[in-house]
């Protein structure tokens, strides 16, 4: 257990440090709510009185937005954890400490995520439920699977960020690459267009990418759109994505360290 003590300390520091910016925090809750309202407004207008389109009801659409944006608010990944340290050179000192640097990043992100869950997602959820109404989860069992799948979704988002950050070892400034990555995540994960409404060919392409694993899989499980077997299979797919992308990221991380050693920081 002692092995995890420093990571726990990092997580706690991040969690507690967040209370400093109260005003900012309040704004963030409202921001999340507003985004949900925007998409809800758009889809209400698009439905124009129809109760369902292609078997998808308006509350289901609302649920998709609330869950994916809500989870988006919780899933805090610091895209510049490594690039910042590489740019200012502090990565060298980080490597000398007897702890894993990616481990520290996980710890800090997890501390933030916990803070977000309690102080961002919860208030936003309450506000949204009171105003626009979303679907209830498909039973307690499925809800448990949803929670598992949501965690795996965070895992997918995290390993994607981790792997992309490794580009900093070669390019140092990675703002552009990070921004492009985030465009893919936003558009293809279903957080801005429910993937039900994507054209067929797009859905076909998406099957071969990790993006739908981030938010859309948990949403489908929450809504009960998947059978138990399907849900289990999708979770397994999430896990496989995490593993594959992590291996790629870890490969780059090792190569990057070597490069750092060769150049002497």
């Amino acid at each position: 257990m002692m092995k995890f003590a420093p990571y726990f300390a990092y997580a706690k520091k991040c969690f507690l440090g967040r209370s400093a910016y109260r005003f900012d925090h309040l704004m963030n809750i409202m921001s999340t709510c507003l985004q949900i309202f925007i998409f809800w407004g758009i889809y209400r207008a698009l439905y124009g009185g129809n109760t369902e389109v292609d078997g998808i009801t308006l509350p289901m659409v609302a649920t998709n937005f609330v869950l994916s944006m809500g989870l988006g608010a919780v899933f805090s990944v610091n895209d510049y954890f490594f690039p910042d340290k590489i740019h200012d050179g502090s990565i060298a000192t980080e490597l000398l400490r007897p702890i894993s640097v990616p481990g520290r990043m996980i710890a800090e992100n997890a501390g933030n995520a916990l803070f977000n869950l309690i102080f961002r997602f919860a208030p936003a959820l309450i506000l949204v439920v009171l105003t626009i109404g979303i679907s209830a989860p498909a039973g307690l069992g499925m809800f448990t699977v949803f929670l598992l799948s949501a965690m795996l979704g965070y895992g997918v988002l995290w390993v994607i960020s981790f792997t992309v950050q490794m580009a900093a070892f070669w390019f140092v400034n990675v703002w552009s690459i990070t921004t492009i990555k985030n465009v893919f995540v936003n558009v293809l994960s279903g957080s801005m267009i429910p993937l039900w409404f994507m054209p067929e060919w797009m859905v076909g392409v998406l099957r071969f990418t990790p993006f739908s694993s981030i938010y859309f899989t948990p949403v489908q499980i929450y809504l009960g759109q998947l059978t138990w077997q399907e849900a289990g299979l999708k979770c397994a797919v999430q896990a496989v994505w995490i593993l594959l992308i992590y291996l790629a990221g870890d490969f780059l991380w090792k190569k990057g360290q070597k490069k750092l050693v060769v150049q002497g920081g």
Binding site: F15, L16, R18, S19, A20, R22, H25, F119
Partner: protein, 327 residues
């Protein structure tokens, strides 16, 4: 002639007081507490043209706040500041063209570009005439031995090189006053010496007025004639460096080596400390114990091989002033 004039200046900051732990965080999230901190209170001093003054004090004493007010970054809350006929915070644009500021902790150079590019930018910003620019650049780069790295990106420079480049950057427009805020921090011994020599030369040759903050007493001993010490926002000493020893350095120590192991009977007003190898140290105040009497007493009573008397180091006096022992 007073060139820099600071008259009963005060500045207070409001600080969010955070408690630790989870309950502290919750408290801070919902009912934040603020505390007033007087960074500078009722500060007075006058500096003449061409003077070189060391400005020291412990961390949080208000040095940086004072420098920031003098350079026009901060408005004083009350009191008056005049520098070279200007009111810094009111006549900013006209004033700052005549000063140079070096923040040792904060470079003003373009991180990704060669040093010379930053200099060219500063030339344009300060409207430095070509002639002056060329003259200053060649003179300062030679004095600071910078020719080798003018074309290197700043991010590849050592701390000492970067600091020298930063000093030149602050001087290209030939300022009449220069504020140095810890210009030797993190620089190695040789680099420090170069910087000190440069500063001294600049002061004596160009009659530039300088205010100098540092934590390194050697900086002060080797460059400044005058010293202002502040603590908790107020001035506690203003005078020459030797003056400080006269006023506060009344402690003396006498190190004695005896011929063999020796027990010493207590002496009034003298603290006796055991050192190694038959040596003992006698510490006393020069106004309480007369040095001749103490030495006679020891010579009469014991068999002594060697004696050595010393005055305290400036550094230890200053440390005592900071910790409040002297006042």
């Amino acid at each position: 002639m007073s060139f820099i004039e600071v008259k009963s200046v005060s500045k207070t900051f409001r600080i969010n007081k955070r408690k630790s732990g989870v309950t502290g965080m919750l408290a801070n999230l919902f009912v934040p507490k603020y505390e007033k901190k007087e960074a500078v209170k009722d500060l007075d001093f006058v500096i003449g043209q061409g003077e070189m003054v060391g400005f020291i004090g412990p961390n949080g004493a208000g040095k940086s706040t004072t420098i920031k007010m003098l350079s026009g970054i901060l408005f004083p809350e009350s009191g008056e500041i005049r520098v070279g006929g200007f009111i810094p915070y009111k006549q900013r644009k006209a004033y700052v063209g005549s000063i140079g500021v070096v923040f040792g902790q904060k470079s003003q150079l373009q991180w990704d570009l060669p040093v010379i590019d930053s200099f060219e930018l500063l030339k344009a910003i300060y409207r430095v005439p070509d002639e002056t620019y060329r003259k200053n650049l060649s003179r300062y780069t030679e004095m600071l031995d910078m020719g080798g790295f003018l074309n290197q990106p700043v991010r590849q420079l050592s701390l000492g090189q970067r600091m020298r480049a930063d000093i030149v950057a602050a001087l290209l427009h030939s300022p009449k006053i220069v504020f140095f805020d810890e210009p030797t921090i993190g620089v190695d011994v040789v680099g420090k010496e170069t910087i000190r020599n440069f500063i001294r030369e600049l002061n004596s040759q160009d009659n530039v007025t300088m205010l100098f903050t540092t934590h390194d007493m050697q900086d002060i001993e080797k460059t400044c004639d005058r010293l202002i010490i502040i603590d908790k926002g107020s001035k506690v000493y203003d005078g020459t460096l030797p003056g400080i020893r006269e006023r506060y350095g009344t402690t003396r120590q006498l190190d004695v080596e005896f011929s063999g192991p020796q027990e010493v009977a207590p002496i009034r007003h003298v603290e006796i400390v055991d050192l190694d190898n038959n040596k003992k140290r006698f510490i006393f105040e020069s106004h309480e114990v007369h040095i001749n009497e103490l030495m006679n007493l020891l010579l009469n009573r014991y068999s002594i091989r060697d004696m050595n008397i010393s005055e305290p180091e400036i550094e230890s006096i200053i440390r005592k002033i900071y910790s409040g022992e002297v006042f």
